[in-house]
Subunit: 132 residues, 2 copies
């Protein structure tokens, strides 16, 4: 699995690991039942202590995205598609809610706000295309 860690960004390693694995589960790069890379293997590859990886995995377990089988390994939880959709919705709902509140507090109209959103949405998509 491809994982990019920036050791000097100040962002904790275990959070970088979490975010990237979560992302892969969300986008089906990692699927139901897939085994995650071994704690020790990943730790060795990233040149980091096993506990750091274990910690990342623990948080993912708390989010119900992975399950541990002690002595065996960690696996992507078998969740119903609807459940995954719900998790995504919550994530999205949360940030879009913040954006809406910020808009109102700053006196940005609904129409203006939507204009901004469209702009960023399409900018990001173009940017992704260019990178391929």
């Amino acid at each position: 699995m491809l994982l990019e860690i920036d050791y000097h960004s100040g962002v904790p390693i275990y959070r970088q690991v979490m975010r990237q694995i979560r992302q892969q589960i969300m986008t089906d790069g990692l699927k139901e039942g897939d085994q995650l890379e071994t704690v020790r293997d990943l730790a060795a590859r990233l040149k980091v202590n096993p506990m750091t990886i274990s910690k990342a995995y623990s948080f993912l377990e708390a989010e119900n995205l992975v399950e541990r089988k002690r002595g065996v390994g960690l696996f992507v939880t078998k969740v119903k598609k609807s459940q995954l959709t719900q998790i995504k919705s919550e994530l999205f709902d949360n940030i879009i809610n913040k954006a809406a509140i910020t808009a109102i507090q700053l006196g940005v109209s609904e129409e203006q706000a939507i204009e901004f959103f469209k702009k960023h949405y399409n900018d990001y998509i173009s940017k992704q295309r260019r990178q391929k």
Copy 2:
């Protein structure tokens, strides 16, 4: 000036102070040239060390929202309306950009996203109305 501090939220006191004062400047609750509450007064009122307040004020100064006159006090910076608008734009731009990126990464379509936004926008406005 009304300031509500939650001492147990885990959010640093100086950040709570910053956010609320910034908000008041943005929404004209505090206007150009107004003097901020004295470091010592506010510290005493919030039962907190003066340096904590000073720190909050320092960050607001770095944002160019307030100016210090040592030995005199702190005052809301006289900024041109256009400048204030720009600060607001940056704030808003930032969060709406995050929302757009999240949408794309989660596979939410532009139309869906805008639906969500409208919903939250109007929900929040209704909520505000009810509170008055």
